[in-house]
């Protein structure tokens, strides 16, 4: 592993350890996500919404709202005690900090989805899906989570030093995530509908979105953190 990769790995492990040790935050995030899935699953069933649309909506509503809770903690941990300054001096590159934060946020989101997806699957009573459909579902969830993590880390880094960061974070996050949310809902719905060919364009869009929101902040994070 290169020196650069080693530093990113150390930061990534530190972030996961910090996240796991603050069990209050972790638990409240998971409970909030589970509550959203349960409430929306029953609501959609009462409204007699088709299963494919219901699952897509429930998943992305719960993942989006839960992620706004977890993502804005990312840099708040660094801001406390000005640990960020010590971190930057030790790492020597702000881009590495962005990458490590994004990866740890992505891991947290994927862990959250490990609980939310089966729960929604059972509550909405989705019938079995074929391997292609299931693969598409996993792929879309990964691409969507990657986008959420990248944009969330970027916005969190931009706003964390501001006095009204908690207010600004969701306001700035939502408009940027519209392509992810629309693409995610359409692709999940298509996966369950066995019409995967119709959403190829959206999959490419999700991938491009993720790459842009990973590469650009990585390069410009010096300016972003300097504020």
């Amino acid at each position: 592993m290169t020196e650069y990769g080693r530093k990113i790995w150390l930061l990534y492990l530190k972030d996961l350890r910090t996240e796991l040790s603050t069990q209050d935050n972790l638990l409240s995030t998971f409970v909030f996500g589970i509550m959203l899935v349960v409430i929306f699953s029953f609501a959609f069933q009462l409204a007699d919404v088709p299963v494919d649309r219901a699952l897509a909506a429930v998943l992305w509503i719960s993942v989006f709202f839960t992620s706004t809770l977890s993502l804005q903690r990312s840099f708040a941990i660094e801001q406390k005690n000005d640990a960020l300054s010590a971190l930057l001096l030790a790492v020597g590159d702000r881009g590495a900090v962005f990458l490590a934060k994004m990866l740890s946020n992505l891991t947290s989101l994927l862990l959250l989805e490990l609980i939310l997806v089966p729960l929604a699957w059972v509550l909405i009573n989705v019938q079995s899906a074929g391997p292609t459909q299931f693969g598409l579902l996993i792929g879309v969830l990964f691409l969507g989570s990657w986008g959420l993590a990248a944009v969330g880390t970027l916005i969190n880094g931009m706003t964390v030093q501001l006095a009204n960061a908690r207010l600004l974070f969701p306001i700035l996050l939502f408009p940027l995530l519209i392509p992810i949310l629309i693409g995610g809902v359409l692709c999940v719905s298509a996966a369950l509908n066995y019409s995967t060919g119709s959403v190829k364009g959206w999959l490419y869009l999700l991938l491009c979105f993720d790459l842009i929101y990973t590469v650009v902040p990585f390069v410009l994070f010096d300016l972003i953190l300097e504020g």
């Binding site: 150390l10 910090t18 941990i77 005690n81 000005d82 300054s85 010590a86 930057l88 001096l89 702000r94």
Partner: protein
Amino acid sequence: MGDILAVENVSKQIQEKIILGNISFTAVTGDLIAITGPNGAGKTTLLRMIAGLMTVTAGRILWNQEQYGLEHGRIGYLSHQPMLYDSLSVLENLSFFAKLYNCYSPQSVQEILTRVGLWLARYEPAAVLSRGMQQRLAIARTLVSTPRLILYDEPFTGLDREGRELLLGLLAENQPRTVQVLVTHDLTLLDGLKCREIKIEGGKMVEEGVASD
């Protein structure tokens, strides 16, 4: 041969406000520079620019005649804030930074923690430590990479008499092999140390004192 830190006509402007204007000084290995001045004079801004944590608007900061930034990687920075992770233990905090600096060994970590009097508290989370103990851990973090440039921003804040003596001892011990720049509003805390005073007021350098004991 020693190292040379050169601050050349450095200015910092944020939006319309000039925080610092035309600050210049040089320091070589063995120097302890004390930057003094009233609150809001721009002392911390200057220190953060020397560390590479803030960019300069004009002028340049050189280390051995070369421009440098965060990538320099061997700058010790001790602030009045501990710059630590509350949820990690004393040992985890120090080990994490030592690994980032690529100078981790269990022996060196134990040695530093013993030196600052925190070895017995190594499994305590940083959050439960007293202010003074957190500052001792911050001293350990600063020293773990054996920096050649050490920056101190009001480092005596929150330290008890024993902690102040420990820090003064480290300042004296580091002096022969490092360039040290210290921001303080109270020079009497440095009694007994040979230092050079640079006084800043309203973002301007108003006085550069001669070496004193």
